[in-house]
């Protein structure tokens, strides 16, 4: 399971590490586009754009479909959702940690200043 997940996340993060590819995802988020459209938009050769789309497709971030002579690209959201979910869970973990830390810090503040009113706006010298 770990290996399986690993390979998938690896491909996704590799795909997202490139500014052009992130731009392509953003573009496809607005509307589907052909490889020719994308190449023009990003001032690239067809071959160059094909490579980028290939990386995104391999990572499951984009799907392509050839109709006649035109290959249309659209967002394949599966991987993005997985990564967003991972980051969100990791963030939640730290968030709960910090909520507890806030409580501990609050207690320490009261303990250290038993005679002062601690209201988060301590006077500074």
């Amino acid at each position: 399971m770990v290996q399986y997940t690993n390979a998938r996340l690896d491909a996704s993060f590799a795909a997202l590490s490139d500014a052009t590819r992130r731009g392509v995802l953003e573009q496809l988020g607005r509307s589907d586009a052909s490889i020719t459209d994308l190449a023009e938009k990003f001032h690239m050769t067809l071959t160059g754009m094909k490579k980028h789309v290939g990386v995104l497709e391999h990572a499951g971030l984009v799907t392509t479909e050839k109709v006649g002579r035109v290959r249309t690209c659209k967002l394949g959201l599966r991987r993005l959702e997985e990564e967003a979910a991972w980051i969100e869970r990791y963030r939640e973990l730290w968030d709960s940690r910090f909520d507890e830390l806030d409580k501990v810090v609050e207690e320490l503040k009261l303990k250290l200043k038993p005679k002062e009113k601690v209201d988060g706006r301590n006077k500074r010298e």
Binding site: D95, V104, R124
Partner: protein
């Protein structure tokens, strides 16, 4: 489809942020309501550290917590549901600068682990915490993200595994 595209993470929702800054770096930030001196104490005193590092909602306990918080000192954290089902995290402190900075290694993995740097930045009566993980390579961070060895709770991992399975069954 549109609903998914529009559901971007809302930064205002929480004060905690997580970002992959580069191929080798993961950064967590949060402002804590207290001065660096106190936040540092809560971070470096084992009895206090124990109380917040493993949140109650995680459903696991910190079974033991040995921390020799000084340059060259070692730490070892054991947590899990019980002694027979536990995970260990250990390493050593590279740098400990009171009230401002702690740097430590994460040595529990088979290969090169991350170097973690936490900085305590004074912001009025509050502290901006920045936790920065630097991995030896892109592959190491990818693997850590996938395996959850970046301080992740077993429960969290299980949930992630379930989610991944559900998603892949649904979509593939």
């Amino acid at each position: 489809m549109d609903a998914i595209r529009e559901s971007e993470p809302t930064p205002m929702k929480s004060r905690t942020t997580v970002e992959r800054k580069s191929e080798r770096e993961l950064v967590v930030t949060r402002t804590i309501n207290g001065p660096p001196r106190i936040v540092f104490e809560a971070w470096t005193t084992p009895e206090l550290f124990k109380r917040w590092w493993v949140p109650k909602s995680a459903g696991v306990n910190l079974l033991s917590c040995d921390m020799d918080v000084r340059g060259g000192g070692k730490y070892r954290l054991v947590f899990g549901a019980d002694a027979s089902n536990s995970m260990e995290f250990f390493g050593r402190y590279i740098e400990v600068t009171p009230h401002s900075r702690i740097v430590w290694t994460n040595d529990e993995g088979d290969e090169g682990g991350a170097i973690t740097t936490v900085t305590f930045e004074e912001k009025g009566a509050q502290t901006l915490l920045v936790i920065h993980d630097l991995y030896p390579s892109k592959e190491a961070l990818d693997a850590a993200l996938a395996s959850g060895s970046v301080e992740c709770m077993p429960e969290t991992l299980e949930q992630l595994d379930e989610l991944v399975v559900t998603l892949s069954v649904g979509r593939s």
